[in-house]
């Protein structure tokens, strides 16, 4: 608990194939329907059966920005979970487990062990996942809720599968609930209800929905964790929304299909992870050269190469900065949470359409596969749509149409294929204003220079349209924490904890990477007393970028590169050590073994 608000963290651990997802999603729905804020992080592995999965669900009656530091209740679906995580529970914590198959470990004082004799409670059911449903009954009671709340949730979850399945689950859940009534102590303060029901989404849902809201009509993908959820959302909803979804043979085809669809006028998007993005990069450069607007999403996972496919990292910043050969302009943005990821897509499309260039959205597994509450009133599915200077019909111009006319802004009106009178060829070779190649027979250094400058000029105007980052928190703070993308929430929570320890801190959260508001950043960092950069990578990718764009250095670093995301106390500890002068480079220890 913090700040006198309700806060509770439940974790479910087991092996892949034990059905963690179902109780997880039933509880998530139950919490969000009650209007509670959920931040769920699932630590899992690239395995279909076996291994260890550990789902952390933090709920509160105020907004949650990370999966937090504490654990209040642990549901162990196997012995491994009991052995790994019982030690995380402190006084007041509860461990729920199948006492037929799991032996409890040595629990801390004040931890309530909640054994479930599953065989007896399930009437010797042969259903392998019945322990999950019984556990839902136990959890419902422990949270201080009436049984009918769960019964409704089960009916919604299993209704499609028919009455028999619903009844089996309700009966099992009821047995668990009654068992808990007789044997266990519920929370002293029952689970509250929020002001209104909230919605539930993952970051991948948010990215896909952002595309739908932006008017994406062509979505292409090759499955790759942790971005595949975007493809799944698009495939589920595409026909209803008039979005064409194509699963391609590889990411090279994905990106090139997107370029083709975008060229004829559809808003086109694709999402992948770093490995797939590596294959896409030549197409990113082709979009820049042909001046075709398209959005590429890279959901980062721990690399290099195949890396750790189910773990998070902020390791692809320089990959995005250097995507494709050549010296050219691309827009790059790193959203800070799921709602921001949603909003990022229409924002990116509008700017790409204006500048007729590729845009890259880099986010990470933490956001993309996290499950979160969302306030439906904050999800704007009808954003402003600006397609830039585009020619979709009309008479042929007097004289010639110059696709790459060298204008003052660098932006040349873009005629879509099919419009009479504007036939032209776009080329990945360097070309003149009339798109005749100046790469082979007709090379011309003056024209080459002119076209390079024309393309660059388009981007120069974009920075005025994006908000500059601002310091969040007290202006005269002892410490300024700098982060980019998904760390904003956890840094914010660390700042609250630091305040309790007498250290004032503020945050500079970076969202736009290119263009970069170097002046505003120099100004903010210049006013800071002590600057610390927080990054989910080894080498300080953002730190190096900050130096390259501003010439600034910082006082210290907090870096994590073990595949797991920051918890607030990791940052708090890093700040405390640095304020105490013990180090200027803190690497948190990952306590939870997943």
């Amino acid at each position: 608990m913090s700040s006198g608000q309700f806060e509770f963290t439940l974790a479910i651990g087991g092996a892949a194939g034990q059905g963690i997802a179902t109780p997880g999603s039933i509880l998530a729905r139950l919490f969000t329907r009650r209007g509670l804020w959920l931040y769920a992080y699932n630590a899992y592995q690239s395995i279909i059966r076996g291994g260890h999965i550990y789902l952390t669900m933090r709920i509160s009656d105020r907004r949650t920005h990370s999966h937090g530091d504490n654990l209040d209740m642990l549901l162990c679906l196997n012995q491994d979970t009991m052995d790994r995580h019982l030690g995380l529970l402190g006084a007041g914590g509860r461990a729920i487990y199948n006492s037929d198959t799991i032996k409890p470990g040595e629990a801390a004082d004040g931890v309530q062990l909640c054994p479930m004799p599953v065989k007896q409670l399930s009437n010797r059911s042969r259903n392998r996942v019945i322990q999950n449903t019984i556990a839902l009954g136990v959890i419902t009671y422990l949270l201080g809720l009436e049984f009918d709340v769960l019964e409704q949730a089960l009916k919604q979850q299993f209704g499609r599968k028919g009455d028999a399945v619903v009844n089996e689950n309700v009966t099992a859940a009821r047995a668990g609930y009654d068992h808990a009534v007789e044997n266990f102590q519920p929370l002293s303060e029952p689970l509250p209800a929020g002001a209104k029901p909230l919605a539930l989404w993952t970051g991948n849902d948010a990215l896909a929905m952002g595309g739908a809201a932006a008017g994406v009509k062509f979505y292409s993908a090759y499955p790759m964790s942790p971005s595949t959820g975007v493809l799944h959302w698009m495939a589920r909803n595409g026909r209803d929304l008039g979005i064409m979804v194509r699963q391609a043979e590889d990411e090279i085809a994905v990106a090139n299909m997107v370029v083709g669809a975008a060229h004829v006028g559809a808003r086109a998007m694709c999402a992948t992870s770093g490995g797939g993005f590596a294959l896409m990069t030549e197409a990113v450069g082709s979009a820049a050269m042909m001046e075709i607007p398209a959005v590429f999403i890279n959901v980062m996972r721990a690399g290099p190469s195949t890396g750790v496919p189910t773990k998070t990292e902020q390791g692809d910043l320089w990959q995005a900065l250097g995507a494709s050969q050549g010296d050219f302009e691309r827009l790059i943005m790193a959203p800070t949470d799921a709602l921001d990821a949603f909003n990022a897509i229409p924002e990116m499309f509008n700017l790409c359409d204006q500048a007729q260039c590729p845009g890259i959205v880099i986010t990470d597994l933490l956001i993309s596969e996290g499950t979160f509450s969302a306030d439906p009133d904050e999800i704007n599915l009808y954003p402003e749509i600006d397609r830039g200077e585009i020619i979709t019909n009309g008479e042929a111009p007097n004289g010639e149409y110059l696709r790459y006319e060298d204008t003052e802004t660098g932006v040349s009106p873009r005629a879509l294929p099919g419009v009479p009178g504007y036939a032209h060829v776009v080329a990945t070779d360097e070309h003149d204003q009339d798109s005749v190649l100046i790469s082979d027979e007709f090379t011309d250094p003056h024209k080459r220079r002119r076209m390079v400058e024309k393309r660059a000029r388009k981007i120069a105007n974009i920075i005025e349209q994006i908000p500059a980052p601002e310091l969040q928190g007290p202006e005269d703070a002892d410490v300024t924490l700098i982060g980019w993308g998904s760390t904003e929430g956890v840094i914010g929570e660390a700042i609250e904890q630091l305040a309790d320890k007498g250290i004032t801190a503020n945050q500079l959260a970076i969202r736009w990477i290119v263009p970069f508001h170097a002046r505003a950043v120099i100004d903010a960092v210049g006013r800071a007393k002590r600057t610390i950069i927080v990054e989910n990578n080894y080498s300080g990718q953002f730190y190096r970028y900050l130096r390259s764009e501003t010439g600034l250095s910082v006082d210290g670093h907090i870096r994590k590169y073990d595949g797991e995301p920051f918890m607030p106390h990791h940052i708090v500890d890093g700040v405390l050590e640095q304020v105490a002068g013990k180090t200027n480079h803190y690497i948190p220890y990952q306590e939870i073994m997943v």
Binding site: T32, P197, A199, L200, A212, A213, G215, K217, F218, S220, N237, R239, D240, L241, G242, I243, M244, E249, D250, I252, A253, N256, M257, V259, G260, A261, H263, V264, G265, A266, R267, A268, E282, S286, M290, A374, P376, L381, Y382, I385, T392, G399, E400, L416, P417, G418, P420, G421, Y422, A423, V425, A427, T428, D432, Q433, D434, S435, V436, D440, E441
Partner: protein, 301 residues
């Protein structure tokens, strides 16, 4: 424009010459690709296609320069990626006549994966491959279709690799229109192009288009002595097995013409439910309707 002699494009072509692009080809005199370009101009004229109704897409290589010499909308894309770009373009605006042009290295080598899958998907486009059995623009190295024992700069001791057969590969991969042409026979080639463009689905015309500079084995003379038209042999274009057998023949006789024509398999755009109504997706309104938005939110609650 300054220094380059460019021509103004003709809006409503009346002659094959009206399909000329802004500049003339920079191909070597005697290059087989001229015959392909001329056949394409004649085919489009005979079909009455307007330049704005055609989207010509190429990759990289000598032959991939073709869109610049042709009066239509064009895209000169990345090496090997023309079919992927074309799939996106066709599916986003299925009203366009999409013609993809390129060479054997571009299409059968670096682009081989897309060749397989574009055929399998039956994307409604015409793929014209100018096959010269050599890498020309990089000054003469082995290509996927180079013959065994062929000596090139990258195989000075003779190739030890068995060549790729585009015709049997296309048939095995599910292409619905598979033909072979010869650039010196522009009448025949132009006729094949018309049939291919009219075909609703993926059509391949693999054209022997000899490289006069770097391939001294597979010359115009080499092919002239050997090519025989399938049309003269009562070949059944519905019989894929015979088509494959004839495509494998490579001796004193090499067949050209239409090997396979499957008429009853829907093209990808025809099978795609999103295109059932509402026209090309590229022309539709971007904004979601209130009803669509409400459904999205309700599924999250």
């Amino acid at each position: 424009m300054d220094g380059i002699d460019t021509r103004q494009l003709v809006l409503d072509p009346q002659t094959a010459n009206d399909y000329k692009g802004r500049v003339d080809p920079d191909w070597c005199p005697g290059c087989g690709d001229f015959g392909v370009l001329n056949s394409m101009r004649k085919a489009c004229l005979d079909m009455g296609l307007k330049p704005h109704e055609i989207l010509t897409i190429s990759g990289i290589g000598c032959s991939s320069n073709l869109p610049g010499y042709f009066n239509s909308y064009g895209m000169h894309t990345l090496h090997g990626r023309a079919l992927a770009v074309a799939t996106g373009a066709k599916m986003a605006n299925h009203e366009l006549n999409v013609v993809v042009t390129g060479g054997d290295g571009d299409g059968y080598g670096i682009g081989g994966n897309h060749f397989t899958h574009t055929a399998r998907r039956n994307v409604d486009l015409t793929y014209i491959v100018m096959d010269n059995e050599i890498y020309g623009l990089t000054t003469g190295q082995l290509s996927p279709t180079s013959s065994l024992d062929m000596k090139t700069k990258s195989s000075p001791h003779g190739s030890i690799e068995f060549p790729f057969n585009p015709i049997t590969s296309a048939i095995m991969n599910g292409a619905t229109f598979v033909a072979r042409g010869f650039s010196s026979d522009t009448r025949h080639l132009s006729m094949l192009m018309q049939q291919a463009i009219e075909h609703k689905g993926f059509s391949l015309i693999s054209v022997f288009s000899p490289c006069i500079t770097f391939n001294h084995d597979n010359t115009v003379k080499f092919f002239k002595r050997r090519v025989k038209k399938l049309e003269d042999e009562n070949h059944d274009t519905g019989d894929w097995k015979t088509a494959c057998e004839k495509a494998m023949v490579w001796d004193d006789t090499i067949y050209t013409g239409l090997f396979l024509h499957v008429k009853d398999r829907p093209s990808l755009d025809a099978a795609e439910p999103v295109l059932d109504e509402g026209g090309p997706i590229a022309h539709r309104s971007e904004a979601l309707t209130k009803e669509q938005g409400d459904r999205i939110i309700s599924r999250m609650m």
